[in-house]
């Protein structure tokens, strides 16, 4: 009754004096999350006076993020061993991310399953070196060229038990082939050796051959965007461009030293990068060959191979100095260098088609799998994880010019020999040689 009576009392009071009782209340929508999987709603006051020292706080965060990045930078994922001679060439599968083809110096070709990290197929493709491997755009077959003057086409499927490895097609050439590439979407491929030949898959003789006063080429590459254009590196220190539809080559640029390979940017039709013997890489606009648009320096020995990331933002280079370096496409210096104690001269390098991994084949018979971003977490990220990663990435970018952060971000443990190479030689007196910009220095002439 007590309850009842007190209740009655209150109601009476309200009735009598028209008293309004104000109660603190808030809308549950403001603080209750919709599902329990949501993060807790935290009301924030963004008044800047309540959150002072924003620059110094963010600087500390950036510094910590940079340090953590270095802590988590573990780029080396796996080593694929099995070859009995140096790995001379690599090829990505065009349709499957987990398949890799590698040809070695003893003519053996291996097909790898990258997820299992094991060899799924081995075949003796050629006598002597395998000079080039390339997978057809449909992914059902692949081509190899070797020192035995043959071009062979193989099916991608492993032969059944008891069946022998037989090439689908063999073409006997007159001279040794040193390079091979396939057209992006036509049944046409190109080889180089004493001259550059364009082949139709159905014919046993080239549909077109180009030669321009050179007797030896080291590499040939189709342009993946403007698919009828080709570029090749010749032994007379020149890079020659071709159009498959024309009867003559287009243009050539002669440099101070020989280029080993070139690679077209898959997102920018007229840009290509060549790996040069003079330790540098050069990015050219094919319309203006007079001087490169960027010189990429950091290697301390001849650069042997280069491959673009499929996003076209970066490229990776393999060098005789036993390192792999990753360059942003418009940066003069590398952002990353990978090396291990056991890795010898890196002969070939590829960037995987999902832009997450790098594959390198080297002299000491191993193929290595690396992460393209050393500190990146692989696999599926939760939403909050991704947000945090994005934020710390932006912080690093924002404070990248601050000396402490730059020092930590750029620091790499490298063998001492590298610093010697970098700064060891200075034979000329300063001022004795006229100053030339780095871009102009390396181009001898452009031949129309």
């Amino acid at each position: 009754y007590a309850k009842l009576s007190t209740h009655g009392c209150i109601s009476y009071v309200v009735f009598r004096f028209q008293m309004k009782v104000k109660v603190l209340s808030r809308n549950p929508d403001d603080y209750v999350r919709e599902t329990k999987l949501d993060i807790q709603r935290v009301p924030r006051n963004y008044d800047p006076s309540l959150h002072p020292f924003e620059v110094s706080r963010e600087y500390t965060r950036a510094l910590n993020a940079t340090k953590l990045e270095r802590v988590f930078a573990k780029p080396f994922l796996a080593s694929l061993d099995g070859h009995r001679d140096g790995v001379n060439c690599l090829a990505k599968h065009t349709q499957s991310l987990s398949t890799l083809l590698s040809g070695s110096c003893d003519g053996e070709l291996k097909v790898w399953d990258l997820t299992k990290r094991e060899c799924v197929r081995t075949l003796q493709a050629h006598e002597g070196f395998i000079r080039g491997v390339v997978v057809r755009y449909c992914g059902t077959s692949f081509f190899t060229v070797g020192d035995d003057k043959t071009i062979k086409q193989w099916t991608m499927e492993t032969p059944g038990y008891g069946e022998e490895e037989e090439p689908l097609n063999t073409i006997l050439g007159k001279t040794v082939f040193t390079g091979l590439d396939h057209h992006q979407n036509k049944s046409v491929f190109a080889t180089c050796g004493q001259q550059v030949d364009i082949w139709d898959e159905q014919r046993s003789s080239p549909i077109r051959s180009f030669s321009w006063g050179v007797d030896s080429f080291s590499s040939i590459r189709f342009n993946p965007v403007e698919t009828d254009l080709l570029g090749s590196c010749a032994s007379d220190r020149s890079i020659i461009l071709y159009d498959m539809r024309e009867s003559t080559p287009l243009k050539k640029v002669v440099m101070t030293m020989r280029s080993n390979t070139l690679c077209w940017n898959p997102m920018e039709a007229f840009h290509f990068t060549c790996a040069n013997e003079d330790y540098n890489l050069y990015t050219y606009d094919m319309r203006f060959l007079e001087k490169p648009i960027k010189v990429h320096m950091d290697h301390v020995s001849a650069v042997l191979d280069v491959d673009y990331s499929p996003t076209g933002q970066e490229f990776v280079s393999a060098s005789f100095d036993k390192t792999i370096r990753i360059f942003p496409k418009n940066d003069g210096h590398s952002r990353e260098v990978y090396h291990t104690k056991r890795m010898q001269h890196v002969i070939c390098v590829k960037w995987s088609s999902d832009s997450k991994y790098i594959l390198s084949g080297s002299d000491e018979m191993n193929i290595r799998l690396w992460k393209a971003n050393a500190a990146e977490k692989l696999g599926v990220l939760s939403h909050r994880e991704r947000e945090a990663a994005n934020y710390s990435q932006k912080l690093k970018e924002k404070f990248q010019h601050h000396p402490q952060i730059r020092r930590i971000a750029r620091h790499r443990h490298l063998p001492k020999i590298f610093s010697f190479y970098r700064f060891g030689f200075s034979s000329t007196k300063p001022g004795s040689v006229p100053v030339l910009s780095e871009k102009e220095k390396h181009v001898v002439s452009v031949v129309k």
Binding site: Y46, G213, E226, T311, Q393, K448
Partner: protein
């Protein structure tokens, strides 16, 4: 003559040039040319021998032809020759342009126009330019090809610059739009692989069911074709309506099913049952046989329910509830509800056919069936239950409500009974019951209705009371205090004499020591009164005093004393240091440090005589006395409580940027870029998301294809759309 030789010479030169270049291009046209060259070379080597003689002969002929009509003498074959021309000319002969023209003039077939043209040619003295060398030719070809290729490649320029400026790039470029695909696409791309699928498809195909375009079967299509337009329209309308109705019905059912209120469903079920009963009764009238069948069915269902342990509070859930029932009101309630359900289901249907039987059976059935005490709440005339007796006839108000006539009658009766009571104390109640059985019946019916109206509270209260009283009765039959009182109460109500006594007795009750029984009866009374006058009576409430809640007052006085104590303590502890004056002194010191000073660098004895008591000359002193420069005014000169130090802090310097980094043009730009915070402490969620957007986004495990021509088209579309929108904007602006 001269022209021809010239041409020949140039050809020779080209030949030489060709042989000098190591590798001529292996193109078919060139080879042919070379063959021709070779042939001509052979000829020229032969003709060198008899050249002079031939010239002479020609000259003679020309002279001969000068006069009179021109006569063309056929050259006769004088010696055996390998080469025989079809124009009866030996290979040694050379055809001149003039000769050819001459023959044309003669032939009537040649048109005047060509004749004229040829004459003009003959008249012009200019020499034909010699063709370019092979290298030059190739060079030109290359140049042209390069220009073409460069132009072709340049069409990518716009998209490349666009991508370079883009805030975010998402790869792969040609991502399929997420979301469901149209069914045709999915089905077309799908193939039956497993045997089951194949079987299904073969069946579908055999029955002419649509496989790909699943709208109409061939039969339906045929029928649609067969009908005329009007019919089709009507049918379509019908179908539409049916579909709409069905969807409405479905939606309604879904909505109803979602309603969680038990009450709602109870009401709903009740209505349904009523409806059913009504229908059933109608059925009885119209078709008794069917009704009987229906009845049978129901009976069977009832039997099943009776047989099964469902709703008997014997399941797992019920057991768990039973454990909780001791503490939990809700659990008890749930159990009782279960039983009620049971009761509902096992109850026999009241129909006109079986009413009488039921009435007969009712008593037995009900008492047997219900297992729990709850079911005893079904009020029966249970003479063995004294409490029940008391309760049912207790209400004095109801008694008053009866007719006065009845009351009088009963008065007599009761008086008679009282007399009988005095004779036999114990059997009083029984006799009473026997007398006004009709009345009691009415009352019980009312009671049942009331109780069923009352919610759980009343019921549980009732059972509790019943239990308590039963116990007390069992406990001590000897202690007649309680039972006597109870009987007293009964007496009091029943007799009119006692009614008169009521007001006298009631005030005495609260004075008595409150025994449990008393309390219970006290509880009982208001509950009964509540029935009559629901709600709160103002008068009653107002007369009662409000409760005063005593809140313990905070000991503020003691607190302030404590605070004071603290202050005193602190003052005592820091009695010695005068912080303010210290600060002032320090500031003054700093200011003094910054003030210009006079440094005296004079060296006594330098260039003069030195020694004790000798002072350097005035000139010298003036010369070597250096006055430091006046520094700019201090920033804290007007701030008495602040010291601003403008010295460089060496602890921070390693963290500071020493020179302007590359893309920035002035320090202000760089500073502003640093000053804007990115984190969510300073920015709203959306802003943070926008600012921390990564530049390149790739999809896990997706192959990124190189840029294709479609991208070019897309880019163009985008650009054109942007332009169009800009144009429309500019157009609309003046209108405003």
């Amino acid at each position: 003559m001269a022209k021809v030789s010239k041409i020949r010479k140039s050809k020779k030169r080209s030949k030489v040039a060709g042989s000098s270049s190591k590798k001529p291009p292996v193109v078919y046209d060139d080879e042919q040319e070379e063959d021709v060259c070779g042939a001509e070379e052979d000829v020229s080597s032969e003709e060198d021998d008899g050249e002079d003689e031939r010239k002479r002969q020609k000259l003679l002929e020309a002279i001969g032809a000068l006069g009179g009509k021109r006569k063309h003498a056929l050259a006769e074959r004088s010696e055996a020759a390998v080469h025989m021309s079809e124009f009866s000319m030996t290979a040694d002969d050379e055809a001149d342009l003039s000769d050819l023209i001459g023959t044309i003039e003669k032939t009537p077939a040649a048109t005047a126009q060509t004749k004229k043209h040829l004459k003009n040619l003959q008249r012009s003295k200019n020499t034909v330019e010699c063709p370019l060398s092979k290298q030059e030719n190739e060079r030109i070809q290359r140049d042209v090809a390069f220009q073409k290729a460069a132009l072709e490649v340049s069409r990518w320029q716009s998209i490349i610059t666009q991508n370079q400026r883009a805030e975010q790039l998402v790869f792969p470029l040609n991502q399929e739009p997420s979301g469901p695909k149209p069914i045709e696409q999915v089905v077309m791309g799908w193939e039956a692989r497993t045997p089951l699928e194949k079987e299904i498809f073969s069946l579908l195909a055999a029955n002419k069911q649509p496989i790909l375009d699943a709208v109409l079967t061939p039969a339906e299509e045929a029928s649609v074709k067969a009908m005329d337009l009007e019919q089709v329209k009507i049918r379509r309308a019908e179908r539409q309506k049916a579909r709409a109705l069905q969807s409405y019905y479905e939606a309604k059912a879904r909505r109803e099913r979602k309603i969680k209120s038990k009450k709602y469903h109870k009401v709903q079920n009740k209505a349904k049952r009523k409806e059913f009963v009504k229908q059933f009764e109608e059925l009885v009238k119209t078709d008794p046989a069917a009704a009987l069948e229906e009845l049978d069915k129901m009976e069977r269902a009832r039997m099943q329910e009776r047989m099964s342990l469902k709703h008997q509070n014997s399941g797992k859930w019920a057991k768990s509830k039973a454990i909780m029932a001791k503490y939990d009101e809700g659990a008890r309630k749930a159990m009782q509800q279960q039983l009620e359900v049971n009761k509902d289901l096992t109850q026999k249907l009241v129909t006109s056919l079986s009413k009488e039987e039921e009435e007969e059976e009712e008593g037995e059935g009900n008492t047997d069936m219900l297992p729990d005490f709850v079911n005893d709440a079904e009020f029966k005339q249970d003479s063995s239950n004294p409490w029940m007796r008391g309760r049912l006839s207790e209400d004095p108000t109801e008694m008053e409500l009866k007719d006065t006539m009845d009351a009088l009658l009963r008065e007599f009766d009761s008086r008679r009974k009282q007399r009988q009571d005095q004779e036999s104390d114990t059997s009083a109640v029984i006799v009473n019951d026997g007398d006004d059985g009709v009345e009691e019946d009415q009352v019980t019916e009312d009671k049942v209705a009331e109780i069923s109206d009352e919610e759980e509270e009343g019921l549980s209260e009732f059972t509790r009371m019943y239990r308590g009283i039963g116990k007390s009765l069992e406990k001590d039959a000897g202690s007649k205090d309680g039972s006597a009182e109870l009987e007293e109460g009964l007496m009091r109500i029943r007799s009119v004499d006692d009614v008169d006594l009521l007001p006298q007795e009631t005030p005495t009750e609260p004075q008595q020591a409150p025994t449990p029984q008393h309390q219970k009866s006290a509880e009982q009374q208001p509950s009964r009164s509540r029935k009559r006058k629901k709600g709160i009576e103002l008068r009653e409430v107002l007369t009662k005093e409000t409760k005063v809640i005593k809140v313990p007052l905070a000991p503020t006085v003691t607190d302030s004393e404590e605070k004071l104590d603290q202050r005193v303590l602190i003052e005592e502890a820091f009695a010695g240091d005068d912080v303010i004056s210290d600060f002032a002194r320090e500031k003054r010191k700093r200011e003094d440090e910054g003030k210009p000073k006079v440094i005296d660098l004079t060296l006594p004895g330098w260039g003069e005589w030195g020694g004790l008591g000798l002072k350097p000359s005035k000139r010298k002193r003036r010369r070597f006395r250096i006055r430091t420069e006046v520094p700019p005014p201090r920033k804290d000169q007007h701030l008495p409580s602040v010291i601003i130090s403008e010295k460089r802090n060496s602890a921070i310097t390693p963290h500071q940027v020493s020179s302007l980094p590359f893309p920035f043009e002035n320090p202000a730009q760089f500073e502003s870029s640093i000053r804007t915070p990115l984190g969510r402490t300073w920015n709203t969620e959306r802003t943070v998301k926008k600012m921390t957007k990564p530049r390149v986004v790739t999809q896990l495990g997706a192959i990124i294809e190189p840029m294709a021509d479609e991208q070019l088209l897309k880019g163009k579309k985008k650009v054109s759309a942007r332009r169009r929108s800009r144009n429309t904007k500019t157009r609309t602006q003046p209108a405003k």
